[in-house]
Symmetry: C2
Subunit: 210 residues, 2 copies
DNA sequence: TATAGTATTTATCAGTTGATAGAAATATGA
DNA sequence: TCATATTTCTATCAACTGATAAATACTATA
């Protein structure tokens, strides 16, 4: 067998191994994100994968390692989705609607639970890592969107009773939390759910009578 | 000993027992509300009370019973506090600031965690009970506040692009979540924290330039 | 002081959890 | 077919969990 063929086979082997690994991460994501780190056991994850519990330890050092890998992947995916939306050439309100719809629909889970797990269930190192990634991948793109809006004059900036963009980003995530908590995530009208449109409208224009 | 004296002593005994019970609930509240139902063990609670773990079972049927008692008490306390604020004769914005400050300061914990625990960690019966109490004690008073604002014409009602009061209440709680998550809960200016003032202002008037 | 009722402890259990060791299966290439 | 490396399994562990039973300490009363 030639060196090239050998290399291809090794590559395929590595790919299959990575395939299993990816599957585990995907299953873990569904479970961890819905029920939380503490409530999900490594056996539940293995069962849902059709594996035995010790098999997981061939791919991950320990439970926390699996959670961290999952969270990093999830944050990277979310980052890509948000960046795509932020770069669109649309009105800021439309982009915010898209961002909210994306977070509600594509990820389908409440990031407050993730924040809690990061803060309370992980070691100091893992916490520091994921905290950094959370800010870089979720907060930063959203903050940039709000900053653009302030520069364009569509949003009030800090000199005119506005709020700094990073705080806006956190606030926005709380809104998404509300949409998920209100349990109306299924009501979808022409690609966007009514609660999303409503929430973004309130965030921009407020509840008060003009 | 007279009948009256006997009654007094029995009363005092009962009071002391209830005193211990109250202390347990208070300690449990601090721990459950910060770390979540799953993460806190009955031994941790007992240790923090200066008791052994089985002693808890003299006052509560099981762990879930303790959590339920704690949550009910917490919700009742919050209800009282919110009702007091709602009935004040002040502008709606001021009352919302008070309500937010109360939830952030007096209770000091993120109700999203409680909602998660109620939804995922308890039996169907306990869940149904606490769900009902949550709506009656937290959502209802806040919804009434928003409804008053809509009747007064200070807030937009549903006919003018407004939102139904119950949805407003949920949204308001998400705001409080944000204030707590942003970790600025300690910045207090003349009785009210800056984030609270800011958050309520945004909720009413929005982020957009007028 | 003896009694009764309450509160708390010691001792213990069965089930679950995350994790490890080592055997077995599987696939690959010579 | 044999040797090798990877993947997965069986078996098992120690620690921890919620919970129970029974003994003991405590307190007020008679």
């Amino acid at each position: 067998m030639s060196g090239r063929q050998r290399k291809n086979v090794l590559h395929r082997e590595a790919e299959e191994a990575q395939e299993t690994r990816r599957m585990i991460v995907q299953v873990a994501r569904r479970l961890f994100m819905e029920y939380g780190y503490r409530a999900i056991t490594t056996r539940q994850i293995a069962d849902a994968c059709g594996l035995t519990q010790p098999a997981l330890y061939h791919y991950f050092k320990d439970k926390q390692d699996l959670y961290t890998a999952m969270a990093q992947e999830e944050l990277a995916r979310t980052h890509a989705g948000l960046e795509r939306i932020v770069r669109r050439n649309e009105h800021i309100e439309e982009r915010l609607r898209r961002a909210a719809a994306y977070l509600v629909g594509a990820t389908q889970h409440d990031h407050n639970l993730m924040i809690h797990d990061i803060r309370y269930e992980l070691s100091a190192e893992a916490r520091a890592l994921l905290d950094r990634e959370f800010r870089a991948n979720m907060i930063a793109p959203l903050a940039e969107l709000f900053e653009q809006g302030q520069r364009d004059g569509q949003l009030r900036d800090e000199q005119h009773g506005g709020v700094n963009p990073v705080a806006c980003a956190y606030l926005f995530l709380s809104y998404v939390s509300y949409i998920l908590a209100s349990g109306q995530r299924d009501v979808v009208i022409s690609g966007e759910s009514a609660p999303v449109q409503q929430a973004v409208s309130i965030l921009l224009h407020g509840l008060a009578n003009p």
